[in-house]
Amino acid sequence: MTAEDYNDCVKQYADGLYRFMLKSTRHVEDARDLVQSAFEKLWEHRGDVNALKGKSYLFTIAYHKMIDQNRKSRRMEFREILPESAAESRPAPHLRKVLEEALDRLNERQRSLVLLKDYEGYSYEEIGGITGLNESQVKVTLHRARVQLKQYLVSVENVL
């Protein structure tokens, strides 16, 4: 990967990686630091990274850094509430807000897998490559997360 390839990765994937980190950590500064750390890692190892694999490399690095960071600090329990305006730039519909709440209820792995699947459109295999899980684990985890989200949505609708 050349410097030009690296800069292309910045332009193409920085926003998506930031979304993924922000939704995963629900912490703006943490998400920003993780994004910068992932790109720094990519720059350091750009000679070993295929330009076509830049995106998955970034998400893999960011994901594992996030996991490690959460394991060390356990700040997930004390994180500041993500400002509404930072979470979304446009007014969210009601369903969208409920879905965000449901997403917050997922565990870390489930949420990450859902985000990787829905935000970035990764396949089970690719998600497995990023998270270190096999394809079956990804599939099972995602299915459980979907069912959990659906149940939450249905329950909220019933209340409303």
Binding site: V10, D118, K139, H143
Partner: protein, 333 residues
């Protein structure tokens, strides 16, 4: 495997995760149409798909990198280093080339002479002069002490010594000089000489060369130089019988039978032959002897142009070196 009421949920999840192929997706859609009560189930699962928010990472510019700016040694430093290296290498090369040229450079005049002799030029006047200068320079050290030995002066060989400002072979010179002139004139006219060389083979002789009177004044080597250049034999005999100028090595070398010829003339003194000088030197070696019958001494010098024949020197651009040896024999018992 087909979709049914027992496994439809898995198919629905794979459907919303876009993990099914076109055929399977069509199968799921057909199944839902056949089972409308499950359509709501599929719609609920579709709502779990999280749409990405329009979030933008606002620090992308800080992440952009420039290859040149991030080099440990910026490119301009490499360019400067390369330029310095080229300059130093060029200077070193020129310096070494200059040294080599000085060491290997023969006296340019010597090389000219070699070329002229090889090409059998008849008009070496310019080169002759330069050769004379070169020979003078080369022989100065060797001959420096020669006059001071006193032998030649005492034996009265003023003909060999050219006084500053005087013409070496002027008509009013002593008889030896006159004979030299006569010998040179004979060389100019092949019909009048037995010299096997055609007239064109002989470059300008001493007399001719000295007509310009531009050569630096020198003692014995003055004649010797010219003899060397001419490559001719000038067996001379002093009319007074006191001295002879002998030039054994300048007997023309191309003739094999002449190589061993002794050039010692039978001087009027006639008291014994001086040691014969064998003319087995290459054509680039010349010598001249002066026999003083009165004092029974033989003086002379040898000059040799080292490093091969002239043609090789020209072809290989070899540099020449002149080696001159001066000697004096006392024949007295």
């Amino acid at each position: 495997m087909t979709i049914n009421r027992n496994n439809y949920e898995e198919y629905f999840l794979l459907y919303i995760d876009r993990e099914l192929g076109d055929a399977e997706r069509q199968m799921v859609e057909d199944f839902v149409r056949r089972h409308p009560d499950l359509e709501k189930e599929l719609a609920a699962l579709r709502q779990t798909v999280v749409l990405p928010p329009d979030l933008v990472f606002e620090h992308k510019e800080a992440l952009l990198r420039d290859e040149k700016e991030r080099r440990l040694f910026p490119l301009y430093l490499w360019r400067i280093a390369a330029a310095l290296l080229i300059v130093l290498a060029g200077g070193w090369f020129l310096m070494m080339a200059g040294k080599t040229g000085k060491q290997d450079q023969p006296p340019a005049d010597s090389l000219k002479i070699a070329v002229k002799k090889d090409a059998k030029h008849v008009k070496p006047s310019t080169e002759l002069k330069t050769e004379n200068r070169e020979s003078s320079a080369s022989a100065k050290k060797t001959y420096a002490d020669f006059p001071r030995s006193g032998t030649l002066r005492k034996t009265g060989v003023p003909v060999i010594r050219q006084q500053p400002g005087s013409d070496l072979l002027s008509p009013d010179s002593n008889p030896v000089q006159q004979k030299l002139i006569a010998a040179k004139q004979n060389h100019r006219n092949p019909a009048e000489t037995t010299n096997p060389h055609p007239a064109g083979d002989f470059p300008q002789t001493a007399a001719t060369a000295n007509q310009d009177n531009r050569q630096p004044s020198m003692d014995l080597p003055e004649i010797a130089r010219n003899e060397m250049l001419s490559g001719t034999t000038i067996p001379q005999s002093d009319q007074t019988g006191k001295s002879e100028i002998l030039n054994p090595s300048t007997i023309n070398p191309p003739s094999p039978d002449s190589d061993e010829r002794s050039a010692f003339s039978k001087g009027s003194g006639g008291k014994g032959q001086p040691p014969s000088t064998i003319n087995d030197q290459p054509s680039t070696a010349q010598s001249i002897l002066v026999f003083d019958s009165k004092n029974k001494t033989v003086s002379g010098f040898f000059k040799k142009l080292l490093s091969g024949p002239p043609e090789d020197a020209v072809a290989d651009n070899h540099r020449k070196r002149v080696s001159v040896s001066v000697f004096q024999f006392n024949l007295k018992k």
